[in-house]
Symmetry: C2
Subunit: 363 residues, 2 copies
């Protein structure tokens, strides 16, 4: 069943006869149209999915050419004075009566305008959440292939940069080298701002690369990912130049053990919470429970952070084809941090690691 057919079936179950999609990843997932929004207030376009009939991509002239090339099976219509007047005429044309929109991605001001035009033409607007997101949770074979491609390119870039790393280089130099290679290898862009956090800077899970020079023996957290063919990768390695200090080696071993325990706990049917706990237990038992303040992992796909989650609060079950990160960490104020992150696919019996790189994992 095509994605459009799946979506139409979901609309039918909710008795919606039309649905709007404006969130860029959802828009790309359903239509193939790959444009990004400059901001939530500057949309590159909206999909209108009727329960019956041809779906429509509403966009402006800047994107019309790309839209026609990318959004197979969509009728592309352009607006010049705002999306809503065009939408209004389309709703009349399709005689939609109940129109779903995404409450988690529509601004209050837009929803007010939408309510107004719906009222004028006797359409009932229906706030929904997660309809397309839930379709994105389990990846198809084609998506897994794209994710694998993204992970592999990311590892190649990491390894190439790792080979050149020398004491005295700055975090910024290394981060920019990584992002330059990503683009040179053909990635669309980094999937998030590259983190290079050396020594004490590693104590913050979301450190920003700075002018600090890296030193031998200390942990250097490198968290990086890229977008290839729309799909994101996300990998963390904690590397050490030369021989690690004793404490560094000890903490890397604990985090690695937690990562392996997390990966071993994954299979279809277990909850995200259970997986988180399997890894967290190792870190807690080693006496570092307070030093692991974030969840164990998150889904990755068109977005670098999406469902499901591996976290203490996520009590839903994992399913075959979900792709998640497994990324335990230990962060110690004034000392630094260690985080190790792989991306795995959930299978019936366990999980399959998309990562091959083993740099500094097992010391």
């Amino acid at each position: 069943m095509t994605r459009i057919a799946q979506l139409k079936a979901r609309l039918a179950r909710r008795d919606l006869d039309g649905f709007l999609i404006s969130q860029p990843d959802n828009r790309r997932f359903i239509s193939g149209f790959s444009a990004a929004d400059h901001s939530i207030q500057e949309s590159a376009g909206v999909l209108f999915i009727p329960r019956r009939g041809m779906p429509i991509l509403l966009t402006d002239s800047r994107f019309a050419l790309d839209a026609r090339q990318e959004a197979a099976g969509f009728s592309v219509r352009t607006y010049s004075k705002g999306m809503l007047p065009l939408l209004s005429s389309i709703l009349e044309e399709y005689r939609s009566k109940r129109l779903g929109f995404d409450s988690h991605y529509t601004l209050h001001s837009t929803s007010e305008e939408l309510l107004k035009i719906c009222h004028e033409i006797d359409v009932e607007p229906v706030a929904t959440t997660g309809i397309v997101e839930s379709m994105r949770l389990c990846k198809s074979a084609e998506e897994l292939q794209k994710l694998q491609g993204s992970v592999t390119m990311n590892e190649t870039v990491f390894q190439e940069v790792h080979r050149t790393m020398q004491p005295g280089m700055t975090e910024i130099e290394i981060a920019m080298h990584i992002e330059t290679l990503m683009r040179q290898r053909g990635a669309e862009k980094p999937s998030f701002d590259t983190i290079v956090a050396s020594g004490a800077n590693g104590a913050s899970p979301h450190a920003v690369p700075g002018q600090r020079q890296i030193k031998a023996g200390e942990p250097i957290v490198i968290d990086m990912g890229l977008v290839l063919d729309g799909y994101c990768s996300d990998m963390t390695r904690t590397v050490v130049l030369g021989k690690p200090a004793a404490k560094t080696a000890e903490i890397i071993r604990i985090v690695r053990k937690a990562q392996l325990a997390g990966m071993a706990a994954i299979r279809a049917g277990v909850t995200g919470r259970q997986v988180d706990q399997a890894a967290r237990k190792i870190i807690k038992d080693a006496g570092y429970g307070d030093c692991f303040g974030h969840g164990l992992g998150h889904g990755v796909g068109l977005a670098v952070h999406e469902g499901p989650n591996l976290s203490p609060r996520y009590t839903r079950k994992l399913q075959v084809g979900m792709v998640v990160t497994v990324e335990p960490g230990i962060y110690i104020e004034g000392w630094g941090g260690v985080r190790l992150e792989n991306m795995v696919v959930v299978t019936r019996e366990g999980c399959r690691n998309l990562n091959r790189d083993t740099t500094c994992l097992d010391i």
Copy 2:
């Protein structure tokens, strides 16, 4: 008058006794708290500004330390299970009755939750737009100094990269060199994705740098900006390596003439539309009217795109202290593009150019 006092005066005029600020630039403008949001669904915090009494910054534990250091005059309170329960207790404490929120930055789903908690404690939520944005339009002396610093650093980076440019380099190499230097000079980050668009690629105003190698004689559009101390710069130069082809030189001269005409038209009291028309007329008269599809300029400050606008539709008047770009362009499918962009401050008599760089402007 402090910004908080100005804002409280505006709340009084609207009979609001409390106001929420979640948009990151507005949040930073009012409080000094500089954190970015990971996405509109993952907020780093919200300001609650009571009409009387101490303003509050609601955030989570990850940001509490930075919040306390940056947000002078704010009481920082942290939530662990979502912002709204904490907000609810604060509203009761302050006995707020009419609570303003930003309709242009609040998600429909958040507004629904907000309505619910407001209803429970008998508070009236009031959708507003542009209250803080309007305070950001005219820059203070201190802000102008920061903008000048951002512009100057941006020009230094441009000039350093320009000196190294050689035929055969790729657009990506040049863009990444620019972004690396920005960070090395101490910028927080680029203010937008750097554009390097050579030859025919320049025909799209928002081209993405690719693997194309630059050539002598052709126009190479470089549009770049950085964030320093929170404030953005935005500059475009169209450079030519070696002697420009005749058509290239002709088009650069037309665009430069349009830019100078636009700058000459600026002063407090004229409308954005009038300034746009002054520049647009030069391009139209030269026969390229159809090749200039965007507005002449936009405001710059904490955001790289903010009010006011220099465009055919913007009929409000410019005021002393506004900072705008002046960036006419000519884009020709299959040939390429030329755009020249400076940032200027509106004064009573005219404008003051924040840019000093003259690379390839007058050929």
